[in-house]
């Protein structure tokens, strides 16, 4: 099977390949010609290594993510399991919001911050919810960092999913069911704090 480009992401190209008889995905962070060579090399290598390491670690928290077959930091390439299903961005529902919240709470319980928690990074296949793209993920126990994840998904809900009313509340319901109400409230308070730091935020 010839490698076939299936997705041009923001920072990586995704190819469908054959990996010793299995259908697999090759994610390559190609150099960006507009970026300074040194900065480009550092970012691509760092993100490839982080992605592979944290994707494996995430599995221990119960979050489902693709299995990794091979990592080549010098080429900034990761070969991983192909996940079928559809992108949550294209079919977000309230019950999915709740599942997303549970997934985020599980990840945070393992002290992992995703760093790019958007609806387009989730794949749904029947009942199975798969989380992708750990390139910006890192370890942290700080409430502020967990809040950064939640603030981002809130931003995505209010920009890309206006028609799904009450999405963030349902997300938080799912999040609280795993993290506990006390923890969830503390993070939510921190989300508000981050928003207040933003430009032209209302001082309420």
């Amino acid at each position: 099977m010839q490698p076939r480009l299936i997705k041009k992401g923001a920072e990586a190209d995704i190819y469908l390949i054959d990996w010793f008889g299995r259908k697999a995905v090759s994610k390559i962070r190609s150099p960006k010609p507009y970026r300074h060579k040194e900065l480009d090399a550092v970012l691509r290598k760092r993100r490839t290594i982080h992605e592979a390491a944290l994707m494996s670690a995430a599995k221990a928290t119960g979050v489902v993510c693709p299995f990794i077959f091979f990592v080549d930091p010098s080429r900034a390439e990761i070969i991983m399991e192909f996940v079928k299903g559809s992108n949550v961005r294209d079919e977000l529902t309230l019950s999915l919001c709740e599942k997303l919240g549970q997934c985020a709470a599980m990840l945070h319980s393992g002290k992992i911050i995703h760093g790019d928690l958007t609806t387009s990074n989730f794949i749904i296949d029947g009942k199975k919810l798969v989380l992708l793209d750990f390139g910006l993920a890192y370890y942290s126990e700080r409430t502020e960092d967990a809040a950064t994840d939640l603030r981002l998904i809130k931003e995505v809900f209010t920009s890309a999913h206006v028609e799904v009313k009450g999405s963030f509340q349902r997300f938080m319901k799912g999040y609280s069911s795993i993290a506990g109400k006390k923890r969830a409230d503390r993070i939510l308070e921190n989300v508000h704090e981050i928003e207040q730091r933003g430009r032209y935020a209302r001082f309420t």
Binding site: A10, E38, L39, T118, S120, E155, S159, R199
Partner: protein, 333 residues
């Protein structure tokens, strides 16, 4: 044909412009407050400047459009976001004119003005917008009646980053042009600086602190510091644009705001857009920064779509008026 007189006074620029309903800019007169070298805008000094400049700017705007106040149909003013004392000068001038000449008064969101004028001048129809200026660093796309934020700065704007860095070296604001000029002398060496992308958002405050420190330690390599700062900050913006393009699938991108005048940023964004098959529209440099036409044109569109104006008693200014709270009825979808 309708004529609108628009008044802009959110920050350092006091501007008045006459625009007609076909989108022709009949006049655009500006007077810019210049802060002392190494200093930022002092709101009180800037507002005093605006007050003193207002009468001259008004007369020139009318004269160069070859119209009188009687020919004007509506008056628009920039009601925020911006610096309170500066905004109030624009509002006072607008109210006085509207009251004396009995013209409808329309208030305009300054950021919306950048986008509407950018769309008029570039012909972009449904773009992902990168609004980069001293007051804004935002990625927006239009949906469900409002400009929605797909990414923004979590702390300071890219304009503030460049200005505050430049001011620490004693430059006069705005410093973006000077930093770009110095960068051109760089050997191409890259000094490591913090690169902070958080999902679709960016954060520049750590970068500013690091850049100021590195500049103070490397007086002999100022060109390298400047170029490294540009490389890092603009790469972050380009990545945020790529993320938003990939997420929204938009085939147009438009860059507006004062920092849009930066050549290096335009060059990087063009390549980022090409990768996603998107066309980049850059607001012409002379209208990238704050101007009166952005207010006139937006006021016209708003007034023609909504047929509403505000009474002088109820007119106001709002220092923190976020663009994503403004209903836009004349754009589809």
């Amino acid at each position: 044909m309708m004529l609108c007189l628009g008044i802009e006074s959110t920050a350092h620029t006091f501007a008045i412009s006459v625009v007609d309903s076909s989108g022709r800019i009949r006049s655009d007169v500006r007077d810019i407050y210049r802060a002392p070298e190494g200093k930022g805008i002092h709101p009180r000094d800037a507002s005093r400047h605006h007050m003193e400049a207002s009468s001259k700017v008004l007369h020139e705007a009318l004269d160069s459009a070859a119209v009188t106040m009687q020919d004007i149909d509506i008056i628009g003013y920039s009601a925020g976001p911006g610096l309170g004392p500066c905004l109030r000068v624009g509002a006072v001038v607008a109210r006085a004119l509207a009251g004396y000449y009995e013209k409808p008064l329309v208030l305009v969101n300054h950021a919306l003005g950048h986008i509407e004028l950018g769309a008029l001048l570039t012909g972009a129809s449904d773009p992902l917008v990168l609004l980069v200026s001293g007051g804004h660093t935002m990625l927006l796309a239009f949906s469900h009646g409002r400009w929605r934020v797909f990414g923004e700065t979590l702390d300071i704007t890219v304009g503030q980053l460049l200005d505050q860095f430049g001011r620490s070296l004693g430059f006069a604001s705005p410093c973006g042009g000077k930093i770009e000029e110095i960068s051109k002398e760089s050997s191409g060496e890259y000094l490591q600086l913090p690169y902070a992308i958080k999902g679709n958002d960016v954060s520049f405050s750590g970068l500013l602190t690091a850049a100021i420190r590195i500049a103070s330690e490397n007086h002999d390599r100022l060109a390298s510091v400047c170029s490294s700062l540009q490389e890092t900050a603009f790469a972050m913006l380009a990545e945020a644009v790529e993320r938003a393009l990939s997420f929204t699938g938009k085939k147009e991108a438009m860059i507006v705001g004062g920092v849009a005048a930066n050549r290096k940023l335009g060059w990087m964004l063009r390549q980022a857009c090409e990768r996603h098959g998107a066309k980049l529209f850059a607001c012409p440099t002379e209208f990238a920064g704050d101007n009166g036409a952005q207010i006139s044109w937006t006021a016209l569109r708003q007034y023609r779509a909504e047929k509403k104006h505000i009474s002088i008693e109820k007119s106001y200014v709002s220092q923190s008026w976020r663009l994503d709270t403004v209903d836009v009825s004349w754009r589809r979808p």
